[in-house]
């Protein structure tokens, strides 16, 4: 699929398989996450059989995080990555959990407070496309399962590049394209049949999980995303396929 197809046309974009007006997508995505926020963590564990925790762990490993660093967990939602980072950067470091959605941020805030993580975390409601931070602010930026929900992904990548310090790195954890044909088939069956049914059963919300499955298919594949990162200015871009390419972790540096 070409990049143009991924980002839609000038005035329209994708919301799952639907084509919608660009302005409309933001509020539609917002509705999805307002509606799933409360059950988000349970559903995440259920849908991925807990493997999302290992994908996130791998992201932390690839970030090479050190005590004292400043980290932006963008589209951080309920703050899984923020928690992992917060413990590692310690009191001399800082983690900012940024998300466009207030409901997700609130669930995140409560969860992190319950874990006793308060001192080095700040919360910011922000759109990835126009980050409200100064140039060269962060050592590490992560965006996990967030980029595919963003309307203008290129603008978001440019914005991340701007706020990253020289020498800093971006990690994009996102659903991608399975590398094996058989896995693709099983995965399709799982996401289009089982996932919406599970959404209905557990969260009483079939549509949000239908959107999830569709948005995954519309997201750029491994090489396209790598190219998009390069176009935004990132150097030494590379990716690792995880769990047969169901998920990929992309990494790029700002030099």
């Amino acid at each position: 699929m070409s990049e143009q197809q991924h980002s839609g046309t000038q005035d329209s974009t994708h919301f799952g398989f639907k084509t919608v007006a660009r302005d409309e997508k933001v509020s539609m995505v917002a509705n999805v996450f307002h509606s799933v926020a409360a059950k988000y963590d349970v559903m995440n564990d259920l849908m991925s059989l807990g493997i999302h925790r290992l994908w996130k762990r791998f992201t932390i490993d690839c970030s090479g995080v050190r005590p004292g660093q400043k980290v932006l967990d963008l589209a951080g939602g309920t703050g899984d990555l923020t928690a992992l980072f917060s413990r590692r950067v310690g009191p001399t470091g800082q983690v900012i959990l940024a998300d466009i959605n207030e409901s997700m941020l609130n669930v995140g805030k409560d969860k992190l407070r319950d874990l006793g993580l308060v001192n080095n975390i700040s919360y910011v409601q922000a759109n990835a496309e126009a980050l409200p931070f100064a140039d060269n602010s962060f050592d590490i930026i992560t965006i996990a399962f967030g980029l595919r929900n963003v309307t203008d992904k290129d603008a978001a990548l440019r914005s991340m590049f701007r706020v990253l310090k020289p020498g800093g790195r971006l990690l994009v954890l996102e659903f991608s394209k399975p590398t094996e044909a058989w896995l693709s088939k099983v995965y399709d069956l799982y996401s289009f049949k089982l996932l919406p049914a599970m959404g209905q059963l557990v969260a009483n919300d079939r549509e949000s999980y239908q959107y999830l499955a569709e948005s995954i298919r519309m997201h750029p594949d491994q090489d396209t995303l790598k190219q998009m990162m390069q176009q935004a200015g990132f150097a030494e871009t590379s990716y690792h396929n995880l769990t047969g390419g169901i998920v990929a972790l992309h990494r790029g540096y700002k030099f």
Binding site: I51, L54, D61, G90, P91
Partner: protein, 208 residues
């Protein structure tokens, strides 16, 4: 397919075991404060995994990566067991069983921290079992700890004996000495032979 994710699983499990144990040692946090912000990495030879320990006020956090840290060691499993004895370090390095990069003090601080870890099992168990049962259980745990330590020491000794006597993999000191004496003797005999040959050659030339 899960190869990249296994180190993460290992680190998660290790953190889940280690940090509650640290939490049971009332003095651990003061000692952790001294280590705070330090990173230490271990690579066990023969295993494609480098474990990075990050010390913070609230515990020790594990990762697996190849990035620079304050101190990094690469060692054999047997060398790792002997790390607690600082007098062994030079020998281990000389024998190429241990390689250290970075700040030696960080290594010693981490090593000391783990040696001094002394969880108060009784205090924690009494919450669940009541004081009397907790006391019994703690005695049991201490006995188990002693037996495990003894077993490890014994098996280390046995392994060394097995390697030296049965499998003859590693020489004992006396053997090394004998070997070098033998080498010197062979060298001396070769020299003598060389001299005799030279003599014989010059004699045969005189006859020719």
């Amino acid at each position: 397919m899960l190869k990249l994710l296994l180190p993460g699983l290992l680190c998660t499990v290790a953190e889940k075991v280690l940090n509650p144990v640290i939490g049971m040692d009332p003095d651990a946090h003061t000692r952790l404060n001294r280590l705070q912000g330090k990173q230490f990495a271990v690579r066990l030879r023969g295993i494609p995994l480098r474990l990075v320990f990050t010390a913070q006020q609230n515990g020790i956090w594990l990762n697996s990566h190849d990035e620079p840290v304050d101190c990094s060691i690469s060692a054999d499993l047997s060398a790792l067991q002997q790390l607690s004895d600082p007098s062994q370090l030079t020998r281990l390095i000389r024998e190429d069983k241990l390689q250290i990069d970075g700040d030696l003090q960080t290594l010693q601080q981490f090593s000391q921290f783990f040696q001094q870890l002394n969880p108060d099992w009784q205090e924690r168990l009494s919450i669940y079992l009541g004081d009397a049962m907790a006391h019994k259980a703690t005695n049991g745990i201490q006995l188990l700890q002693r037996s495990i330590r003894q077993y490890l020491q014994q098996s280390d000794h046995n392994l060394r004996e097995l390697a030296q006597d049965e499998l003859r993999l590693t020489p004992v000191a006396a053997e090394v000495q004998q070997f070098s004496q033998d080498v010197s003797a062979v060298a001396a005999r070769t020299e003598l032979l060389q001299r005799q040959l030279a003599g014989l050659l010059s004699q045969s030339r005189a006859f020719a």
